[in-house]
């Protein structure tokens, strides 16, 4: 397990809901409800954090939520308990994913791959965990192609990296690099917040 990343998010757990629990969730709530409404089959939800997204999950889905931080998961437990028995939480680093290949029908991420230290390796691990033809769905903020937003995100990254996310990750390209097929993108805000969906190759 990546202990540096684990410690960073364990430290962030205490104030995470204060920073992200009201404004961002209120702003993105309707988009996230629609985003998660496509959950089907056995679902892996990566970086469940303090469970802020759990209220947007459709009911009675078979979901495994993982996170690298025990501190985050501790805060997520009441929200998971309110969801029901079909949501299981586990402390796990995506790089060390221990599920057999082809275990899941879908993988969901939400504002996650700005923080995974080796995003392509993490995405490769997710691709292997998906059944052939299984679907990756991501709600992520990424780098922008357009000035001045790209400049601003580049300037913010050295600071934001210290407390959590990188603001200028090329997550769409990373999904392709990790071997996913049919990579599609839908803009949520500017060229920065995006929904990404992709498919694990049939021969994976």
């Amino acid at each position: 397990m990546d202990l540096v990343t684990k410690r960073k998010w364990d430290s962030a757990a205490a104030t995470f809901d204060l920073m992200g629990g009201y404004g961002p969730e209120k702003r993105w709530g309707p988009r996230k409800r629609e985003f998660f409404s496509h959950m089907r089959g056995r679902v892996l939800f990566l970086a469940v954090g303090t469970g802020l997204d759990i209220p947007f999950f459709p009911p009675e889905r078979d979901i495994v939520g993982i996170d690298i931080s025990a501190g985050m998961l501790e805060k997520a437990r009441p929200r998971a308990a309110a969801y029901g028995d079909t949501l299981e939480l586990r402390e796990l680093d995506v790089h060390d994913l221990d599920y057999p290949d082809h275990s899941f029908d879908q993988v969901y991420t939400s504002c996650t791959f700005c923080s995974v230290p080796d995003p392509v390796r993490g995405l490769e691990r997710l691709r292997r965990a998906l059944k052939p033809g299984g679907e990756l769905r991501m709600f992520e903020h990424t780098r922008s192609r357009y000035f001045p937003f790209n400049l601003m995100l580049n300037l913010m990254t050295p600071l934001s990296r210290r407390v959590g996310p990188e603001m200028n990750r090329d997550t769409v390209a990373n999904v392709s690099r990790a071997g996913f097929e049919r990579v599609e993108v839908r803009s949520v805000y500017l060229d920065v917040v995006k929904q990404i969906r992709a498919v694990a190759p049939a021969a994976a």
Binding site: M19, L190, D191
Partner: protein, 127 residues
Amino acid sequence: MEKRLYFVLGDAAAVAGTGALAGLAATVLVGESWLMLPAMGIGMAVGMALALPASFLFMPLFGAMEVMLPVMLGGMLSGMWIAMAAAMRPLGLAEAALCGAGIGLAGLVACTAADAWLKRKGNAWTS
């Protein structure tokens, strides 16, 4: 485009406040003796430096990128323009704050217009 009143008013207050702050800082820092180009560069840097912590302040209330990017853009533009104006003629604090707030709001309008343009270009899934 965001239509919920809480966010419309909140975003406007955030960018206007940050723009005013950046304008004030620029006019305090830059005098009439300054050359215009360095004044603009310094004003822009000061505006961004103030906008970054401001955006983290507003994020818990109004969302992440939807408030961060307009606040950053508004602060940057306000610092740059007010510094340029301050290098050309004496600028009072009230005028600097008011103009800064207006420039901040212009930054928000620019972000909203850019978002609408991008969505018109392709709001559907694209590969």
